[in-house]
Symmetry: C2
């Protein structure tokens, strides 16, 4: 690569981009860890994008109508930090850049959305940025349709690397974006031909251009170091209105460094001599972490370029009806409408009286039927199991090319892409996404479910067919470890409601969260209503509560969740008939119970009685409640699964795997 020719051709641009390169080199060297090559390679693209095209106001990083920038290749985090420092972001200061990858710094190894307002999302697990971006772009389409162009009119820009494009989730993402013609979405592919193990061709020879075209994308191929070509390509992408755009940017990783075009260049470039040589090659004469004043002030001007647009937007907002203003503010703040608790209460009251015998997936639909009309911000969907997940209600409309107001998304058989895109919607703001699949396919969505928890966003995962109760489809479709998987994940609420009342309560909590995702574990099979006495309070909010107390001396506590609470209640009847005082504790949400004070927990789970846990899943994690919380090993038993399920009708499976009231009675009596 002829660096001299590049810098000569566009000297001003060159120095502005060189600032990114130099800051990256300095920060990674100081941290002695990180990834130098990608920011160095993509500095030209980022410079043109941020200074000429991206709509943002550095002083107001949360302005709702800003363009969103997603660094899918998150390991190149110094690209983002350099940009933010240069444009004058108040949080990413030079000190933060100096503290790259150190404890307490906002400049974490990979971008973390909770570290700075201007960081739109957490990236690092490859493919997630591009997959989340689909949700960002969908959210913009939906909000633009709903609130008008005056309120929402922006774009989503993504930088993705070879790694992102090799991950399977990228295929789910690009086919979704192509199907829904998300023309406000532009992906820059950092086509540097290098991965950690060597050349990309070592493991991949896909024709990416043809692949994106096959998914209905507009594709351009450019020299990623030519600012004129970059500018023209972005203009062309902006002109396309019926396709997302991919701009394949041929770049040189670690441009101008001894490690250029090598896998070494992908990692941390820390050799002082080589780094000096690179700076010389770039014509960069400043000391470490120094940026010439003219370059910095040019960047700061780029950072305030959008201020006027933001002000104009604010003026337009002020001109909207008060109701619309309030609504937009509310949905962006993630506040629930006041009506929510009223409709939930009414539904609880009605159904505690009617006491229907319905699957909790159906109960969930009944809840959504009353929730969706009062929460216009919900966007539902399913990974091709709409009728099974019961996620669609009558009033939503279907999101499509000609119906951007539609609030239901047919995600196709793309659990992972759906989960990622839902996260993207939640991160974008203004939308409260939920989506369904079979609970066993938590496995497919896991990387995104974890990111929901890590990013502190309230995505709702509607996981139906939550046990062997799904019956004939067999062990591939029967979760046994998936409750444990979600419960083991920090900052995740796992709800396993026992009936329609608990289902309504779980939804109310899930929809009220601002920083915690929820997993709703719902049955395929019908369940009786157990909460037949109406309580205005949300009992699920306590995580666990006494559903039925013992008559007489309390000798046994049965702890159960979801479909097995019915079994616990039946077992209690038998035990009580034999004069054995038995309490049933329903535990719809372990995490919320954990968060209660000890006095409440002790009231629910006092020392003394024998305890039997009942759940059609593995015991893993249950010992906390059976032997901890004042329990004792000698007085604890568990009725559940010990391995994978099988294919047979549900009732047969419950019988054959020994999950029955008889088994619970026997276990309790065996401990007395």
């Amino acid at each position: 690569m002829d660096i001299k020719a590049l810098s000569k051709a566009h000297p001003d641009h060159w120095m502005r981009a060189a600032a990114i390169r130099a800051l990256t080199l300095d920060a990674v060297a100081a941290a002695n860890s990180g990834h130098s090559g990608m920011p160095i390679g993509m500095a030209d693209v980022a410079t043109v994008l941020w200074s000429k095209h991206m709509k943002f106001d550095a002083a107001n990083p949360t302005w709702p109508d800003r363009d969103r920038f997603i660094l899918s290749a998150g390991h190149g985090s110094m690209l983002l930090y350099s940009l933010l420092y240069l444009v004058g972001d108040a949080q990413i200061t030079l000190d933060e850049v100096r503290n790259f990858r150190q404890w307490g710094a906002r400049t974490a190894g990979h971008p973390e959305n909770f570290h700075a307002d201007a960081i739109e999302m957490t990236t690092g697990p490859l493919g997630q940025g591009i997959a989340h971006s689909v949700g960002f772009a969908m959210a913009e389409e939906i909000l633009r349709a709903r609130f008008g162009k005056q309120a929402q009119d922006h774009r989503t820009w993504v930088i993705a690397g070879d790694g992102c494009l090799m991950e399977g989730v990228s295929q789910e993402a690009i086919t979704l974006a192509g199907r829904y013609e998300l023309s406000r979405l532009t992906v820059f592919w950092d086509n540097n031909g290098i991965t950690i193990d060597g050349k990309v061709s070592l493991s991949d020879r896909t024709d990416q251009v043809a692949r994106f075209r096959a998914a209905n994308w507009h594709v351009q191929e450019i020299d990623g170091h030519d600012p004129v070509a970059i500018d023209a390509a972005i203009e062309a992408a902006k002109a396309v209105t019926d396709k997302p755009s991919m701009i394949a940017c041929k770049t040189h990783i670690a441009l101008g460094h001894a490690a250029q075009d090598t896998s070494k260049g992908h990692g941390a470039l820390t050799n002082a001599e080589q780094n000096t040589a690179a700076r010389d090659a770039w014509g960069w004469v400043c000391g470490p972490f120094e940026v010439p004043e003219d370059v910095k002030s040019w960047w700061e001007a780029a950072g305030s370029r959008g201020a006027a647009e933001r002000e104009a937007w604010e003026a337009r907002m002020a001109g909207m009806s008060e109701r619309k203003q309030a609504d937009l503010s509310r949905v962006y703040a993630g506040d629930v409408p006041k009506k929510l608790s009223a409709v939930i209460r009414a539904l609880k009251k009605q159904n505690s009286e009617a006491a229907p015998n319905v699957a909790t997936r159906k109960a969930s639909e009944m809840v959504l039927e009353v929730v969706n009309p009062v929460m216009s911000e919900t966007v539902g969907g399913s990974a091709d199991l709409t009728g099974s997940n019961n996620t669609k209600t009558g009033d939503m409309g279907v999101f499509d090319i000609d119906n951007r107001k539609g609030r239901y998304v047919y995600w196709g058989i793309r659990e992972h892409g759906m989960a990622s895109a839902m996260n993207g919607m939640a991160l974008h703001g203004g939308i409260r996404p939920y989506g369904g699949t079979f609970m066993a396919f938590t496995d497919y969505a896991r990387p995104a479910m974890r990111l929901a928890a890590l990013q502190r966003i309230p995505t709702v995962f509607v996981m139906t067919h939550d046990s062997i109760g799904l019956g004939e489809d067999g062990p591939t479709h029967q979760p046994v470890e998936h409750l444990a998987i979600s419960r083991a994940t920090p900052n995740t609420f796992v709800f396993r409601p026992a009936d329609i009342v608990e289902t309504a309560e779980a939804w109310e909590i899930a929809l009220s969260q601002k920083a915690t995702p929820s997993v709703l574990s719902l049955t395929r099979q019908n369940l009786p209503t157990l909460r037949t006495q109406h309580k205005t309070n949300n009992l699920t909010e306590k995580g666990a509560y006494v559903l039925a107390d013992s008559d007489g001396k309390r000798q046994v506590i049965l702890l159960a969740t979801g479909s097995e609470v019915e079994i616990a209640v039946a077992a209690r009847d038998v035990l009580q008939a034999e004069g054995i005082g038995t309490r049933v504790v329903s535990m719809p949400c372990w995490e919320l119970f954990e968060a209660q004070d000890e006095a409440y927990r002790r009231k629910v789970l006092p020392a003394g009685p024998v305890r039997v846990g009942i759940e059609a899943a593995t015991r893993f994690g249950w010992d906390r409640w059976l032997m901890g919380e004042r329990g004792k090993e000698a007085k604890a038993a568990f009725v559940g699964m010990t391995g994978f399920g099988a294919s047979a009708p549900a009732e047969t499976l419950y019988e054959k795997f020994g999950i029955s009231s008889q088994a619970v009675v026997a276990a309790a009596k065996g401990l007395l």
Copy 2:
């Protein structure tokens, strides 16, 4: 669709295919559950493939040189069961077909490889069949290169649906197959345009033909109901030697049924009247589960078509050198070579003396350096983290187009595709696959890791960078819940070795399994050798053992795994110095410890002393050892993580998150 014209054009073929259709209709109706439409739609393709092209001998379903048939669209299981019954498979009898989806039947809702020898793999979770097939095809290439065409010379055939192709993992699979030019792999795409939610176009409009071509596949498009076209396309696919083949078969789901070409046709067709009408349309006059004798005997002839080839193969085998014969038998049986235990012992001895300070990922490499030369059946790899996972040893050679003998695979950034393909290799037989990624990316590989456990195959997942000990990359890359995730999964060994000796022992166990996958949880950071006294016995085989016993009265038991055993040992030193008798129990494999008899478990974990568990992960699951197994809540504590990690140097993180010998000492003393 003009059924009459179809049946008239090829009347014999028609009736043979109709047998599949009728059996499917009958079995699904009897079960009142299942998927009728897909087998009905793909009956023509399957008939041509099985009767004319596929190399198999129904009487010998485990013949090592058979072609492999993979029903990636596993919900269409009746296609496979019908075929197996028709060709005379001894296990899939008519009774089994009648018992479709019932308890104890081999004919489970989705095909389960452990239910019948002729079922190559478990399918149902979409995309897994096509992804596993890459491993099947790679295994054949490797074994053909190694043992010669006389011994291994077969093909892999896959039927995949729209769902399989929408799943992201299919992209990882097809780009791998294209990159490695797996020309013995042929995928039939059941292009019926229907998913559960409606038309495919509702959620996907990808040009699949262009997509596969972009991944270096040979692609043909045919009428999937025309036996002549099917035959010609298969011939053409067989003639291609430098590309895998995709045959896009335009089909009609539920052909000839009232539900044809509808999403209803995808499910269980149970309407008796409509089913009668469909049988009439097909010209099928037999009663339920009946097949005309001429049709059945024609199919049985197809089933024994390969007998001569199998006999010829056996004769060729008998002509090979005794050593080669023994070797092929051994690798197919999954038996380890006798030398394995000797090299492991020697390595243990040498290193218990040398006591190196190495990361367990490096220790793993040191083990592989002695194992790979004596186990020619190992095939290693990494998802683009070769240098970090330490999975490559000097002697392996790299698997590539021009080096099919290579035993190391550069999988690219495809954790999921890698895991699936490894499973495929294990299922194929003759190969013992292992592959690495960062442990946090267990999430990406989960669907395949679960399938390894369910399918009872010994895939080895090398998961390095197994805690906050990875440092600066931050929380996206730091597993905290992933030990729990794998431990909660049935039939999975999770090894977290504390030093090089335990690492060697863990590998020995993992490589000796025939029906259980292993997860090796390995550190990025260096660890001291703790097992400095050589024992010939494999102590890890017991799952947990006393690493250092108390001096004097035993007051404390410290339980730890992996990198935290070092901390436990340091804490013991402090406690002992204060006169507090402290035992350290290393627990490299919970599952194996669980399998020990109570006497042994009691010896290791006696009642009485206080217990502190130490692991740089969440507590989830630990209560079993802390409060169960004769423990008590009041005498139990845990030192570990309570949430996600952070980005900083590893030592800082251990300090800030309070995982230290001081914290352990304080916890223990607090309980005394």
